[in-house]
């Protein structure tokens, strides 16, 4: 197995905090997204430094309540809303390493979520038709120089 049982709990807790089920906007339905499988696929396709980065990111996120002095527990021990609040702060943390590694986990969440065809369809990414675009956004001039 690629990840330990502890890491798997931390990954799931992190991913679910990035994308809440039933939240307004784009939300996953129960069982719709394979969070662990996505992180595992990314991990296996990465080079040794990339793999280290994934593991460190999971470690940073999993232990974040402790090292940020937020609570005496690991990430799964926090209620969902507080998990999200903490991850949001880590995404803008002053240390590059923390920001970068938590962003890597957000990237995994985005890959997992929008890699599901039904979720992608709900996002509207592919929705616009050419006629609509032309009416709203005129086709523009060619080279200025």
């Amino acid at each position: 197995m690629t990840f330990t049982s502890v890491e798997r709990r931390w990954i799931t807790a992190t991913m679910e905090a990035f994308a809440h089920e039933g939240a307004p906007g784009l939300s996953p339905r129960p069982g719709e997204v394979d969070w662990l499988g996505t992180v595992e696929a990314m991990y296996l396709a990465s080079n040794p430094r990339g793999r280290l980065g994934v593991r460190l990111g999971v470690l940073f996120a999993g232990l974040a309540p402790l090292w940020t002095l937020t609570a005496l527990c690991t990430l799964p021990g926090l209620p969902l809303g507080r998990r999200t609040e903490l991850l949001s702060k880590l995404l803008y943390h002053r240390w590059f390493a923390v920001r970068g590694l938590v962003l890597l986990l957000k990237l995994a969440a985005s890959f997992a979520l929008l890699g599901v065809r039904a979720v992608r369809d709900r996002s509207g990414y592919d929705r616009a038709a050419p006629q609509v675009r032309k009416r709203h956004l005129p086709v523009l001039t060619r080279a200025v120089a």
Partner: protein
């Protein structure tokens, strides 16, 4: 069975099937030379390439894009690892070697033959005809590019529609996953099949470990047949002998690694250069529909300011990760994923770095050191500032500059001053680079270069380097066409 699962021989063995290797193979095989092509990555049929980004990247990107620079603010170097190399994942943007760069190569580096104006023009003409180079048409420009054109016009910036090797583009915005209709003439659907039809042979998933020497001359290569993915499990070893020459065209990262593993030193791996960049996203009231249009359709080349701005449509998985926030705040934005535009700035950086084989790694594992200078960062800041202004000029409701230490969301034009006045460092950005140069550079002086004007290694006759490693400087424009033009001419001389 002997020590090798595969043994083969040709006039030339070509390591790498990207812009350089495929062009060399196309010219040499057309001239009747026997050519054996090798690539570390798999040969993927277009219909077998995954459309979802996770599968697309695991199957076609080197190490899922986790090859990064070293140092305190590492950033990824995006490269294809499949037959066709990075041409099979890029947007097919075509620029001839800029005249100011060509003149610098001649006047400062003495490369009057390599960078001969008329010779290069003839090569570019041929390639442009064969790869159906044309400007992106209005029908497939897409609104991401159209909005950039609108902004350039309003701010009186010198924008233009991008020329690409995709005349029959249907605007599926899937360059990265492999053009579904094979409109983009990447090497895997153009020069590689053409070379094979002319008699060349291709061994994929074949990672070259070293160049073989005999009597002070390069006579072939050997390496491992690897399974897919970065596990690199061996399926056996191979040895390919070359009667006339070994051509290494494995990219500005992997070429110097192979050369160093083969015992070459001196300037090998030195003078590495790049065009690192970053992106800005804007949210619009009306749908943009990034899912339709050329992946990259419009650009603002600012050569005198050492930067180039480009529209850049990304698959939803990547766009999503670029939007600010987590949880419901993020999900609100994800629910309007058709309302975003994304543009990027690439900087022709003055910084030089190094490329080395990793200490404990094998094969093509590379350690790349590269740190942007203060001037590079000022240019990057100027580019990001311009992009933010352009977004508001095009009507964006909010702009995401992606700069740590600044508000993640800019609400109006006045807030762009925050970007303009910021003491920007590399650690504040999520940089990335795919235009890589100069780690085995060409020149007259063996003490200051790796290959001569004929692209043959000074230190090892019979060994040729034919990719962007040989460029003595970076370009400030997308490098594919320049690589092909330079290699086309060198291969013609070799075939004669």
């Amino acid at each position: 069975m002997g020590a090798y699962t595969i043994e083969d021989e040709g006039d030339f063995v070509v390591v790498g099937t990207g812009a350089g290797g495929a062009t060399a193979a196309r010219v040499l095989s057309a001239a009747g030379r026997s050519v054996v092509l090798l690539d570390e990555g798999p040969r993927l049929k277009t219909e077998d390439r995954p459309r979802a980004l996770l599968g697309a990247m695991t199957s076609a990107f080197r190490d899922f894009g986790t090859t990064t620079t070293r140092g305190t603010s590492p950033f990824p170097l995006l490269q294809g690892r499949l037959v066709g190399g990075s041409t099979a994942i890029n947007s097919g943007i075509i620029w001839r070697l800029p005249e100011d760069v060509r003149r610098e190569w001649v006047e400062r580096y003495g490369l009057s033959e390599l960078a001969d104006e008329a010779g290069l023009a003839r090569a570019f003409d041929t390639i442009e005809r064969e790869l159906e180079i044309t400007e992106t048409s209005d029908e497939v420009l897409g609104n991401n590019a159209a909005l950039m054109a609108l902004a350039a016009e309003k701010l009186k910036l010198p924008g233009k529609v991008i020329s690409r090797n995709a005349a029959r583009c249907k605007g599926t915005a899937q360059c990265l996953q492999g053009c579904p209709g094979e409109a983009r003439q990447s090497m895997d659907v153009s020069y590689i099949p053409r070379s094979l039809a002319a008699g060349a042979r291709l061994h994929d998933q074949a990672r070259v470990d070293r160049v073989l020497r005999e009597g002070g001359r390069a006579v072939g290569v050997e390496g491992e047949l690897v399974e897919r993915g970065s596990e690199g499990r061996s399926r056996g070893r191979f040895k390919i002998r070359a009667k006339r020459g070994v051509i290494v065209a494995a990219s500005a990262v992997q070429t110097p690694v192979l050369l160093r593993r083969s015992g070459l030193r001196g300037m090998v791996g030195e003078r590495f250069q790049a065009h690192p960049g970053a992106a800005v996203v804007g949210r619009f009231k009306d749908p943009v529909g990034m899912g339709f249009g050329a992946t990259q359709g419009y650009e603002v080349p600012l050569r005198d300011r050492f930067m180039k701005l480009e529209s850049l449509s990304m698959p939803p998985e990547m766009l999503g990760a670029r939007l600010p926030g987590a949880g419901p705040a993020w999900q609100e934005r994800l629910g309007q994923l058709d309302h975003f535009a994304q543009w990027c700035v690439l900087v022709r950086m003055e910084a030089h770095g190094t490329v080395r084989p990793t200490l404990f790694g094998t094969g093509s594992d590379a350690a790349v050191s590269f740190t942007p200078t203060a001037l590079d960062m000022r240019r990057l800041r100027e580019g990001l500032t311009t992009l933010c202004r352009m977004m508001f000029a095009a009507g964006a409701l909010e702009v995401y500059p992606g700069i740590a230490g600044l508000p993640p969301v800019l609400k109006d034009l006045s807030e762009v001053a925050l970007v303009e006045g910021y003491d920007l460092k590399a650690r504040h950005l999520n940089l990335m680079a795919s235009h890589l140069f100069g780690s085995a550079c060409a020149g007259k002086d063996p003490a200051r270069s790796v290959v001569g004007e004929d692209l043959q290694a000074h230190a090892l006759p019979g060994l040729y380097v034919m990719d962007s490693s040989v460029f003595p400087t970076n370009l400030g424009v997308n490098p594919q066409h320049s690589i092909m033009g330079v290699v086309y001419r060198a291969a013609e001389r070799l075939a004669a």
